[in-house]
Assembly symmetry: C2
Homo-oligomer: 115 residues x 2
Amino acid sequence: MKRPFVHPVTEDLKLESVLYALADPVRLEIVRRLVNGDCPLNCSSAAPAHLAKSTQSHHFQILREAGLICSERRGTEVVNSLRLNEIEQKFPGVVGAILAAAKPLKCPDEEPRNG
Amino acid sequence: MKRPFVHPVTEDLKLESVLYALADPVRLEIVRRLVNGDCPLNCSSAAPAHLAKSTQSHHFQILREAGLICSERRGTEVVNSLRLNEIEQKFPGVVGAILAAAKPLKCPDEEPRNG
């Protein structure tokens, strides 16, 4: 039995944690994809493909602990959705302005992986 | 002769560095005071008073390297001003939204210091 994910409640969201979570090109890219995807995405779809699994999990954990995303197990996969409404309510305009200023991450995503 | 301060040019400003610089309550408070002060402030006036000098210098360095502030030596003191126009031009709305969402830092500022 895997441990359930822990998500902070809206009252406990901290601006510093949100900014720290977004102060990384990979995590910013994950949030960008979740916004553009407009629906929950599994970790592989939301994260740049060149990441090691453990690195990927670490990034999702930081986003989750900052309250930016909600993760949910569905069978063997984990799907992630943004908590944009709550974040917007607590820190109006912050994430929107950051996403508008963020450039898509250049990464070797589309290359076929061996093995 | 002290080393001159190094400031990144506008083209080299990075969103991630700006977010990282602001993802700390003390640095956010320094920026808040510089905005509210509306004029260049020396380090002691801009930083919460309970900080050790070396910690204070470290925070100003991170803000400077992110391009958020410009530091200048005037005699024996260093005065700091915000580079808000450049930051706003490069990342519209980001710092404004963050400052609007930021709460003033509670710190033992006004207490008399011994020694």
